[in-house]
């Protein structure tokens, strides 16, 4: 049976109104409600279902971030994950943490834990990078099945239906593989009270990027963070000719 590694990220809750910090270095995170990235919830749910179908034997959830990331690991444990790994990264290092760093960390942990699958959400709702799954697969030289909306396990491979711009694409991947979960893959379960109780006893191992030999030095520098421009009022035009005229004026036609 397969061993599954799931990546979960603590992000600002999707329902919160985001505010930019006055010094333009980022968004306000202090005192703001955080929760597990919704696509990661779907990833965890898929892993738990694999375990229930007896395709997976053990599920390990990983989160990179400050101490509070453990909350997200606890939620994963309450959903049915067996153990958690918290890779402690805080302060300045966390502000400049990028998918390139996270993929190296996930790759190292996957090797250590002898994982057969790595399932992550397709993108995080704070940075919308959509890079971690792809980079992790490249580092490990594993096949990647991104934007998965359906996963079926065969004997020695998986058949994955992917949601792409043109419609649905079905691919077959050898195992081990990296999968990124898309919205319609499943509907995450509520953490039942008995499972929340059980989660208290499940272990969360702690480590640092240094323990894994990964360098989290920044590869980017945030220059500024600003609100999107306020949307200007439109103009109502009398007919199509006027529209074409305006488009030509603006250099669009």
């Amino acid at each position: 049976m397969a061993r599954v590694l799931v990546g979960v990220k603590r992000v600002i809750d999707y329902a919160v109104k985001i505010r930019v910090k006055p010094d333009k270095t980022g968004v306000v995170t202090d005192g703001v409600k955080h929760s597990m990235n919704p696509f990661d919830e779907i990833a965890v749910e898929e892993a738990v279902r694999m375990k229930e179908k007896k395709i997976a034997s053990e599920i390990i959830a990983v989160s990179c971030g400050p101490t509070q990331s453990q909350e997200v690991l606890r939620t994963a444990l309450a959903m049915g994950v067996d153990k958690g790994i918290h890779v402690e990264i805080s302060g300045k290092d966390y502000d400049t943490l990028q998918p390139i760093h996270v993929s190296k960390i996930l790759a190292k942990i996957a090797e250590k834990e002898k994982a057969d699958f790595i399932i992550v959400g397709k993108q995080a709702i704070d940075d919308d990078s959509n890079q971690t799954a792809q980079m992790t697969a490249a580092i490990l030289d594993w096949p990647q099945a991104t934007f998965a909306s359906k996963i079926e396990k065969g004997d020695k491979d998986i058949t994955v239906t992917r949601e792409v711009d043109g419609g649905l694409e079905t691919i077959k991947c050898k195992i081990p593989a990296v999968i990124s979960a898309d919205l319609r893959l499943n509907e995450p379960r509520y953490a039942t009270l008995p499972n929340i109780m059980k989660a208290k006893k499940k272990p969360i191992a702690k480590m640092t990027p240094k323990d894994l030999g990964v360098d989290v030095a920044p590869r980017i520098k945030v220059v500024s963070v600003e609100d999107p421009p306020v949307r200007q009022a439109g103009v109502i035009l009398p007919d199509v000719d006027a529209l074409v005229g305006k488009l030509k004026e603006g250099g669009f036609a």
């Binding site: 606890r74 939620t75 509520y190 953490a191 039942t192 009270l193 929340i196 109780m197 208290k200």
Partner: protein
């Protein structure tokens, strides 16, 4: 109060371990619990709450789901099929569920506090196994029959009688305004076993439903919380094995009072949940409705 005091220490110890700084914050378990209940209430209860209220429907499916989540027996120990959490957890769960649907809240409250409560506190091994375990997963609910047409506040004047004849009790009388009256499959009934002893002559008896000699009155047409049934239980020479006596004869009044003390916490949480939901609806409306050109 003993029931409450017995359940409180579990929470107090976790509290002490976390220190003064987190007095305002809930322990992690309770935070996760609150999230589950809130998400469930928003996703599964809020959309249908108006319908079940309007059409007087019992939310059987939702109660079953709540049972699966562990909400129908929050403070019952795991060995009996419950969730094994404390009363604070119960209060939080009640508040969040009631925020979504008050009917589901009251059904949950009656099952947890008024039915499972006294059984947990006073039931013997056989009674617990027979009358607690099947009622923990949402497939069956219980009820609490104390009020009568002639006494609601003056619970000591119970006119329903239970005569011990041979190996069973014979119940006669009427209990009114019993929440969960219709759907429940067991009831804790308070009847006078010795009239001479006044309120010290009341005993608590577990009555399974349906049973010969027990009829249900019509469902009350309430102004609200209409998803939960409220009806009368009419006993006419209803025979119940004497093993179904809860606690000792004459303990009935004490059991009832202790149970209601704990039950008040559940109902208070329900009120809080309803108030929270009302406030949210009112604020949303007030900020959107335009009067004199301004919200």
């Amino acid at each position: 109060m003993a029931l409450f005091n017995r359940l409180l220490p579990k929470f107090i110890t976790t509290f002490k371990a976390r220190g003064i700084a987190s007095l305002a914050a809930l322990p992690e378990t309770h935070q996760l619990l609150q999230k589950t209940c809130r998400d469930f209430a928003e996703g599964e209860l809020k959309p249908i709450a108006a319908k079940i209220d309007r059409e007087h429907l019992y939310p059987k499916e939702q109660i079953k789901k709540m049972g699966e989540l562990g909400l129908m027996a929050v403070a019952v120990p795991e060995e009996l099929g419950g969730t094994g959490l404390d009363y604070v957890a119960y209060a939080i769960a009640m508040e969040e569920i009631s925020r979504g649907c008050a009917s589901c809240g009251v059904i949950m409250s009656v099952n947890n506090s008024l039915y499972l409560g006294p059984l947990q506190q006073f039931g013997n091994k056989e009674q617990k196994e027979k009358y607690i375990r099947p009622f923990t997963d949402g497939s069956k609910v219980g009820c609490f029959a104390l009020s009568e047409p002639g006494n609601g506040s003056d619970a000591g004047a119970a006119s329903t009688t239970a005569m011990l004849t041979g190996s069973s009790y014979l119940l006669n009388g009427t209990k009114s305004w019993i929440t969960n009256g219709y759907e429940s499959e067991a009831s804790v009934v308070f009847a006078t076993t010795d009239k001479a002893l006044k309120h010290k002559g009341i005993s608590a008896i577990i009555v399974p439903k349906p049973t010969a000699g027990l009829d249900l009155g019509k469902k009350e047409d309430k102004l609200g919380i209409r998803g939960s049934s409220t009806c009368s239980l009419i006993f006419e020479d209803c025979k119940v094995p004497k093993e179904n006596l809860l606690g000792e004869p004459g303990m009935g009044f004490k059991i009832a009072m202790m149970t209601l003390d704990a039950g008040r916490i559940g109902i208070a949480s329900q009120a809080l949940g309803i108030a929270q939901a009302s406030l949210e609806v009112a604020v949303e409306y007030a900020t959107k409705r335009l009067a004199f050109g301004k919200p």
